[in-house]
Assembly symmetry: C2
Homo-oligomer: 205 residues x 2
Amino acid sequence: MRGRLDKRQAILDAAFRVFAEHGYERASIDAIAAAAGVAKPTIYNHLGGKENLFRAVMVNSAEQFNARTLAALDAFPADPGDPDALRAALVDVGVRLGGCIADDRALAMQRLLLAESRRFPDLFAAVRGSGRDRVHDALAGRLARLAHAGRLDIADPVCAADQFVALISGDLPVLAMMSGTSVRAQDLRRSVESGVDTFLRAFAA
Amino acid sequence: MRGRLDKRQAILDAAFRVFAEHGYERASIDAIAAAAGVAKPTIYNHLGGKENLFRAVMVNSAEQFNARTLAALDAFPADPGDPDALRAALVDVGVRLGGCIADDRALAMQRLLLAESRRFPDLFAAVRGSGRDRVHDALAGRLARLAHAGRLDIADPVCAADQFVALISGDLPVLAMMSGTSVRAQDLRRSVESGVDTFLRAFAA
DNA sequence: GGTACGTTGAACTAGCCAGTTCATTTTCTC
DNA sequence: GAGAAAATGAACTGGCTAGTTCAACGTACC
């Protein structure tokens, strides 16, 4: 590690923006340096080269995304009580979780990971190991607890967790990524509410 | 339209492969020409340039994908009869539909569309207008018919169609795209079966 | 203030690539 | 077979970019 921390962070932030805007190939180091307010050699001093820079940006971004997603699960109720409270609690968690998934930064990150998956196969492992699997495990644990409390009737909590996530977000993230637009809050909320309703029709005890 | 049809098709096929392998930026016209067995100027004669070529490849690919996906819905039963037959029929359709969605070519296409969505915003409209919306509409229509036949209890067929697709595929396609692997048939089948089971727990009459 | 380290702006290099040109060959149609 | 259109291989052009170099300047620490 060399150089000033504030320079390094400015580089990472700027690089994320430029990569998100132009994609890996068309994001030039010159543009990133200008956006970061540093000289081009400074980027090489700190991050070594374009590939390393991209890796650092992606790993950094994934860590933030995962932390936010796990934090969204802190709102998960151990036992919310009656069915109305259960629905409200699941909608709340769904909106929080869906908010993380559908966040513009998260979508930009995912699009970059998808676009560059062939060039950076190691990044998939980093993202999956540190994030998606842990989030789904944590969610499965919470669903199992609700089942144990007699609120849900679930045979396989891991599967139910996967389906909960699939139901609340549907294809909103992919469509937003493709269209280059943001997921609107009302669209997300509607998706979460109908997703939770379907989830409860299937799994409420 | 100039040139020989077989040359044009060879170019489109080869271009798809090279774009899928290397992404838009790193796919060189030289490489595409070599893969197609044509001279570089032939590509310019037929397709005009790299951007037009990419558009033609994507539109062509999306049309094939959409035709296949709509055809998968032809297996949808008007009224399969008893609950076991309904489940079996939905699993069959799910596997067919999921097979289209998770097909390697479809995943490659989607990854390219996602990666290049900012450069080619018009492609999203082409894909959405000709495909995804029609497929979901067709699926909603068939679900509504099952509801009318008293087999399903569905308030909103469009929403139910979206959720059916979300449940059967989950995040298998995205994970496959990110990891650069294929969706395994057994994984897809398991996802479809548990997805259909959840769907029926929620919506069976 | 002196020293060491980090940063800078400008210039450079080598490689890559989309698009173009052209004389020649091939293919197709009559 | 003749003529027109399509295709070819080779070479070229101009633009772009990752990475490098360097003298000079800026910053931090003692």
